[in-house]
Symmetry: none
Subunit: 228 residues, 2 copies
DNA sequence: CGCGGGTGTGGAGCGTTCGTGAAGGCCGCG
DNA sequence: CGCGGCCTTCACGAACGCTCCACACCCGCG
C-alpha cells in the first residue's frame, strides 16, 4: 500500500484530503508545518507528498527544495492563490503536479493516482531483450552488459539485437545484412565482420576472447546461449 | 443562470435552502423523496444537487449512486448526523462536498458556489513533466531548467514535451513531426533539426555540448535519461 | 605439416547525416 | 498595408560511421 504525506497548516484541509485519500486506499500521514514535513518525509518514507505552499515558518518552497536535494519523491503542490501560483508552482521546485485551491478532493485523488502511475515505468517487457547478462532496451537504444553501459551505433545495435533475440542460433552474414538494412541489400558481406569487431570492442571484457559474440567458422555468428 | 435541485423530506429545510439560494441568484427546484429526486434530475437537468441522506423510501445513498451511474452532476451532501459514518459514506459515492446539519444557510450557499466554480474550470488540466532537472508546466507552457526560466515557442515546447515525457527513448524525426503537428503532416523532416537547434540555444548551458537533447546519429533524438 | 580458405584488425575513403546561419513565406497584429 | 514572429527550407561545412581493403592470423583438412 502506498503512503501519502499531506502537509498543510489548516487542519480542515488535511482532514478532507485524508478522508478521500484513505478512502481511495492510501495510507496517510500528515504534517502541519515545514519542519515537521521534513521529519516525516525522512521517517515515514512516503511514496508521494501533497504539499501546501503557504506554510508558517518554513515555506512550502523551501520544503520542496530541501526534499529535492536528497530524494526525488513525487510532489503534488497545493497552491493557495491561483494568481501567485502562476510563477511559483511547479517550475521553481520541480513538482510533479499541482492543484489550485479551492480544490475538489476527487481531483486531488485523481492527480495523486496519475502521478504515481507515471512514476512507475517498467518499460514494456516486449521491448527489452535479455540474453546472458546483456540487456538491450530497444526504444531507448541502450545496452547494458553486466554493470557496464555500452554505447553502440544504430547499425551495431540492430545487429546485436538480431543475434541476442535468439541466443545460440547461428546467423549467416547474409541474414545479418538483412537484419541491419531492409531486405535484400546487396553489399560486401564482410562488412558484418567489421561491425562484429566494433561491437566486440565495446561489449566484451576481453575482445580477443569473445564471450557473447561467438564465431561459427564457415557459417556466421551467434550470441552465447547460457543454458547449454 | 444555474439551476440547483434541493432534495430533503423536511419542507422547512427545503424552503430555507430555496430562500438563500434564490437570493444568491440560482434557480431552485425541489424534491421530497428519492424517486422524485431522480425524476427531477432527469427532467430539469440541474447544475448541482443538494442531497439529504435521510430520505424516506429511497435512501439518499441510493439516489446518489443512481445519479452517478449516468451523470457526474456535482452533489453536495446534507448529512443529518454529524458523526463520521455519513461523511465517509458520502465520500464513497463521490460527493463533491458535504454540510452537516444543523447548517448555516450561508455556508450552504458558499459551498454550492465553490463547487460550481470548481466545475467550470475544467480542472486546470495541470500536467507537469519532470525530466532530469528540467520541468515543463504543460497547461502554462512554461519551462525551467535548473534555476533558469526558458522561453520557448509553441512548437518548440511541444517538441520538447514529447521528448521529455519519455526520457531516454529515441524518437525519429517523423515521430516528432507527428507530435508537433497533428497526424501525418507532410513536411521536410529536417525542420526538426532547426527546432532542436533553437531549443538547444535556449535550454542548454553550452549548446555545443548538449546535455538534455541528445542526437542519435542515423535515428533521431532523445532526452537525457538520468537514471538508467 | 603445409596449404587454402575463413576470420580478426587497423585504417583509409567516402557517402550519409547533422549543425548552423540565412533566406523566404505565412500569419497575426497594429 | 507594413511589420515582426515563427516555421520552414536551403546550402555548406563538419562530423560520423559504414564500407572496403590489405594483411596477419587461425582453423580445418588432407
Amino acid at each position: 500500500m502506498k503512503t501519502i504525506l499531506v502537509v498543510d497548516d489548516e487542519p480542515k484541509i488535511v482532514e478532507l484530503a485524508r478522508d478521500y485519500l484513505e478512502h481511495a486506499g492510501f495510507a496517510v500521514v500528515s504534517a502541519f508545518d515545514g519542519s515537521e514535513a521534513l521529519t516525516r518525509a525522512r521517517t515515514d518514507a512516503p511514496d508521494l507528498i501533497v504539499l501546501d505552499l503557504g506554510l508558517p515558518k518554513l515555506d512550502g518552497l523551501d520544503v520542496a527544495r530541501a526534499l529535492r536535494r536528497d530524494s526525488n519523491v513525487p510532489i503534488v503542490i497545493l497552491s493557495g492563490r491561483s494568481d501567485e501560483s502562476d510563477k511559483l508552482v511547479g517550475l521553481e521546485l520541480g513538482a510533479d503536479d499541482y492543484v489550485t485551491k479551492p480544490f475538489s478532493p476527487k481531483e486531488l485523488v485523481a492527480r495523486v493516482r496519475a502521478v504515481l502511475r507515471r512514476m512507475e515505468r517498467p518499460a514494456p517487457a516486449s521491448d527489452i531483450i535479455r540474453a546472458s547478462d546483456v540487456t538491450l532496451d530497444v526504444p531507448r537504444m541502450r545496452v547494458r552488459a553486466g554493470e557496464r553501459d555500452v554505447e553502440l551505433t544504430a547499425t551495431e545495435f540492430q545487429l546485436l539485437a538480431a543475434l541476442a533475440r535468439e541466443p545460440g542460433r547461428v546467423f549467416t552474414r547474409s541474414q545479418l545484412l538483412d537484419a541491419v538494412h531492409g531486405v535484400a541489400f546487396e553489399s560486401y558481406e564482410r562488412a558484418i565482420d567489421a561491425h562484429v569487431k566494433n561491437i566486440r570492442r565495446k561489449l566484451e571484457r576481453d575482445p580477443r576472447e569473445p564471450q557473447y559474440l561467438q564465431t561459427v567458422h564457415g557459417v556466421g555468428y551467434r550470441f552465447r546461449d547460457d543454458d547449454r
